[in-house]
């Protein structure tokens, strides 16, 4: 067995040192009834070649996004990741280390986390960011729980434009804590409706921009209304590239910004692992969830970094912790940081503009298809269209043309009564040929 270094001789000699007759003696505390003498009904060990063959065969059953025209978004976006990113994250020292509990021999990871936090704070326009959470949806739920701790109120208002899965995850967690979640009716342009829903027990308002239908909005007025009522403003973003072009959450009055960081450096990965971004105003930081990396000095006065404010955390505070989180998304945060460093502000801004321009190209092509209605007025790189019939059926039909046409809204939220709505996205990886092929196939199939 290639991963096990001990030889039979090693094992025999080590048992002698221990003073045990056999390895079974080491399992003596296991109740006899629970000791399995025989091997489980599973295949025996296999060589590297055989395992690779099995997994390659499974992978071949899937249609990768990059294999042809592809327009899916809805919280996960296909972007080009520079080769440098994947090389560096496979460095042994990053890949095979753990949470930097011993800062003297983890400055690599810690400095990366400090750079990550600094980048996320800059992008969101807020003062501080944590060292990442699992993904955007859990970051959203954590933000709502944090608002409850900060305001000592029980209510949360979720905009109808919030990604339905984010709303569901938030409801799951908040329900368990006894919070009242008011998820407003799903609508394309739903943001302003949240103002009327704010009440004296509202801990926070959660608004996504660009929202799940791609609508970009300025939430400044909503933030003002939330603050006037003593509530926190939480701004959610599922497409981090949009930070390069759009007003930041901080600029619009957000107290907490959360985002899915997958677009930068991470890849699609069928939904995970991803990286949750979490930033907030400095005065709220002691109620924040997750790891925080901070600057300090060593015994010789040299600058260094450590995990800090850990009295918020489960390993110190136990049942009084701000969150139960331990492992977060370290390697994905590293990938994010490297990609963002390669982009720089110039590259990010340009990437965002290319995405936006490509989505406008897609909109123009689809708007020309008879029977297609463009539903999203102002968008970044994703928008909603209405089709003459079921969006899910059209997606299935377009597979025959080898086109992954987008995400039917009905799959995200079957109760919304929007089964004819399709979410489509374009990024820098979308080609003009793909857009043309999509529009032509759609036109042909609607005409049928």
């Amino acid at each position: 067995m290639r991963y096990l270094p001990l030889t039979p001789t090693d094992r025999a000699e080590m048992l002698q040192v221990i003073g045990a007759a056999s390895v079974d003696d080491l399992f003596v505390d296991v109740p006899a009834a629970a000791r399995k003498a025989e091997l489980f009904d599973l295949p025996r060990h296999a060589g590297e070649m055989e395992v690779e063959r099995e997994l390659t065969a499974l992978a071949a059953l899937n249609r990768p996004a990059g294999a042809g025209p592809f327009f899916c978004g809805a919280g996960a976006y296909r972007h080009h990741v520079p080769a440098t990113v994947d090389h560096i994250i496979q460095r042994s020292e990053f890949l095979t280390s753990y949470t930097p509990y011993q800062p003297e021999i983890a400055q690599g990871t810690l400095q990366v986390l400090f750079e990550f936090q600094s980048q996320v704070a800059a992008l969101t326009g807020l003062e501080v960011a944590n060292a990442s959470l699992y993904d955007g949806s859990t970051a959203c739920a954590e933000a709502v729980m944090m608002a409850q701790r900060v305001t000592r109120r029980k209510g949360a208002v979720l905009s109808g434009g919030l990604h339905p899965h984010y709303a569901a995850v938030t409801q799951t967690i908040a329900h368990a804590e006894g919070m009242e979640i008011n998820r407003l009716a799903v609508a394309i342009d739903a943001e302003d409706a949240v103002i009327a829903a704010i009440g004296p027990d509202t801990a926070c308002v959660v608004v996504q921009t660009p929202n799940v239908f791609g609508v970009v909005s300025d939430v400044t007025r909503i933030a003002e209304a939330a603050h006037a009522a003593g509530a926190l403003m939480i701004v959610v973003t599922t497409e981090a590239v949009s930070y390069g072009l759009l007003k930041s959450p901080g600029e619009m009055g957000a107290d907490i910004a959360v985002a899915e960081g997958q677009s930068i450096g991470v890849g699609l990965n069928f939904g995970g692992p991803y990286v949750g971004l979490f930033a907030c105003r400095e005065k709220l930081v002691r109620q924040a969830p997750g790891r925080l990396c901070g600057e300090t000095v060593d015994a010789e006065g040299r600058r260094g970094f450590v995990l800090t404010l850990s009295t918020r955390e489960q390993h110190i505070r136990r049942e009084k912790a701000t969150s139960n989180i331990c492992t977060n998304s370290g390697l994905c945060a590293l990938a994010f940081t490297i990609h963002m460093t390669l982009l720089g502000e110039t590259g990010l801004r340009q990437l965002a503009e290319v995405n936006h321009a490509r989505a406008l190209d897609l909109r123009d092509a689809l708007a020309a298809v008879p029977g297609v209605e463009i539903l999203t007025p102002r968008f970044f790189n994703e928008f909603a269209i209405r089709l003459p019939g079921s969006a899910a059926a059209m997606v299935e039909a377009l597979l025959e043309d080898d086109i992954l046409a987008g995400v039917p809204f009905g799959r995200l939220d079957p109760q919304a009564g929007m089964d004819d709505v399709l979410l489509v996205a374009a990024t820098e990886t979308t080609t003009q040929d793909h857009i043309t092929a999509f529009a032509q196939a759609l036109s042909r199939r609607i005409g049928q």
Binding site: R2, Y3, L4, P5, V23, L26, F27, D29, A34, L39, P43, A46, E52, E54, A59, A65, A74, R78, T84, H87, R91, Y98, Q102, P103, E104, I105, S118, A129, S132, Y134, T138, T172, I173, A176, D218, S248, E251, L268, G272, P273, D298, F305, T308, L309, Q314, E319, S329, G330, L334, T341, L342, G344, E345, T346, L348, Q350, H356, L360, D361, L399
Partner: protein, 526 residues
């Protein structure tokens, strides 16, 4: 003068190192590396992108006006920056990494390779299920292995880490109680030796937490448990093997007592590596248990994640599992995504998509590589290695529970350091100078000055001996009164001991321009 294994002195005569400083702040090949924000990279980029085909003027005042304040680096600079930083980290690939309870084992690179196949890595989570049948088949196979290895009928794959798995388990239990009209149960019992995530998770889902006492021999105190098991108890959370590295001998009785009052048994599966292939938690009466794929099944720890924490469930709890899950049908695999019809009892959704697919691929490749025979050997070698360390070190250090074998980790306390002026922390920091990552310190809380050592099965005997020799030499030095070696340690790491109090008192959590620095000018994208 001490000699290394090839007979050369380990440090210069008279220790010239301590008083020597380079002129640049570098330490030989180890560079003093500035932050990306301090390299004047405003306006720089390391990517070549096309020029946008049209303007963003349609967005009007939604476009950001102020600069972001993000530096960039060219590709060679970025490569060098991050490679230099990497060299300041310890890693499994460098030496034994004995963090107890973390299972820092070898991460096979085959797993990295298969996870990167475009057929897995380049799949959109909401792509039509007919285009992702291979991915769903892999999830189904992984589920089959996890269920078979644990003897449990169901598994929820979506939790994203161990603590997230605990959350999943308790939400499942809560839903089951509510469905049976038992929603009034408010209490979760947790042993004093538990991971901090256990009580934190229980509190996070709204439960009150009470502690179960521990016996002299490091196990759950059955009498105390029985006294606290009332009809107000929703669940107990017990780690097995426990955080003292011991198997709970009375585990079946613990389960029986728990079930007798209508509560559920949540098992923290962080230490599953000790028993995989030999013991099935389902045979012990467990109702729910998370499995850290990044521990037992070797997906990389990545400097703190991403992990994955699938939760196996008993028949009683399975209907309440979170969506989504994979179902095998006549037309292939499909996903149950909504809490309706067959998932009507599900407590709902925990994550936006389907969980950590990238970790599923890696964990499955690891399991398939080992097979049922190899996984059994994993547990045996992990336990053997821990007992070997315990045997070799017990003469010099005090084992917390000297009687009987330990499981996959050996726990020592600090009684043997009494009178030396050296603390557990000092000892741990001195290990760094000898080339090893310290063990888990001051955990579990039930043992004074705890030192929890988990070698895992992927250490050779030679590496174990190297480690034990180093610790024995340090122990001798501590007892000989060489306290300076410990108090000032580490001396030879990239940095000396860091001031954690200062970091917490005046938190600096992000880079800020110094007042004298000229703020970066707005940058146009042209």
């Amino acid at each position: 003068m001490s000699m290394n294994s090839v007979g050369r002195p380990t440090r210069a005569e008279g220790d010239a190192v301590a008083g020597f400083a380079s002129l640049t702040g570098a330490r030989g090949l180890l560079q003093d590396e500035a932050l990306i924000f301090e390299r004047n990279g405003w306006g720089k980029t390391g990517v070549d992108l096309e020029t946008p085909s049209r303007s963003s003027s349609d967005l009007g005042d939604l476009v950001r006006s102020a600069p972001i304040g993000l530096p960039g680096l060219s590709e060679p600079e970025a490569m060098r920056h991050y490679v230099r930083l990497s060299q300041k980290n310890h890693a499994i690939d460098l030496a034994l990494y004995p963090l107890g309870s973390c299972t820092m084992k070898h991460n096979p690179r085959l797993n990295e390779k298969v996870a990167r196949l475009p057929g897995f890595a380049d799949l959109h989570p909401m792509a039509p299920v007919s285009t992702v049948q291979g991915a769903l088949a892999l999830m189904d196979r992984l589920a089959h292995w996890l269920k078979t290895l644990t003897g449990m009928p169901a598994v929820a794959l979506s939790p994203k880490a161990g603590a997230h798995g605990e959350l999943c388990g308790l939400l499942t239990i809560k839903a089951a109680h509510e469905a049976k009209g038992q929603g009034h149960r408010r209490l979760v019992l947790v042993p004093t030796s538990a991971h901090g995530t256990n009580p934190a998770t229980a509190a996070f889902v709204g439960y009150n937490v009470a502690e179960i006492a521990q016996t002299e021999d490091g196990r759950v105190d059955l009498a105390d448990l029985e006294a606290k098991l009332t009809d107000d108890v929703a669940a107990i959370m017990v780690t097995n093997p426990n955080t003292c590295g011991l198997f709970e001998r009375d585990i079946i009785e613990i389960a029986r007592l728990t079930h007798a009052v209508g509560a559920y048994f949540y098992c923290d599966g962080a230490n599953f590596n000790a028993i995989v292939g030999r013991v099935r938690p389902g045979d012990l009466g467990v109702d729910a248990m998370h499995i850290n794929l990044h521990k037992t099944f070797s997906t990389p720890h990545g400097g703190g994640g991403p992990g994955a924490g699938p939760v196996v469930l008993s028949e009683a709890l399975a209907p309440y599992a979170p969506t989504p899950w994979v179902v095998s049908g006549e037309d292939g695999f499909r996903l149950v995504e909504e809490t309706e019809a067959e998932a009507a009892d599900s407590f709902g959704r925990m994550v936006a998509f389907h969980g950590q697919m990238g970790m599923f691929t890696r964990a499955y490749a690891y399991m398939a590589s080992h097979g049922s025979d190899g996984l059994r050997q994993v547990a045996e070698d992990a336990v053997l290695n821990a007992n070997y360390i315990k045997a070799r070190l017990s003469g010099a250090m005090t084992a917390a529970f000297p009687d009987g074998p330990c499981m996959h980790e050996a726990l020592f306390d600090d009684r043997w350091l009494e009178g030396t002026g050296v603390t557990t922390l000092d000892f741990a920091k001195a290990m760094i100078d000898e080339g090893f990552h310290p063990m888990t310190m001051y955990f579990p809380l039930v043992v004074h000055g705890a030192m929890l050592i988990e070698p895992t099965e992927t250490e050779s005997r030679q590496e174990l001996d190297r480690f034990c020799d180093a610790l024995l030499a340090l122990a001798q030095a501590a007892k000989a009164g060489d306290a300076d070696r410990f108090k000032g340690a580490p001396y030879l790491a990239p940095l000396r001991r860091l001031d954690e109090t200062l970091a917490a008192r005046k938190p600096r959590l992000a880079w800020r321009p110094e007042p004298t620095t000229v703020a970066p000018a707005p940058i146009a994208a042209e």
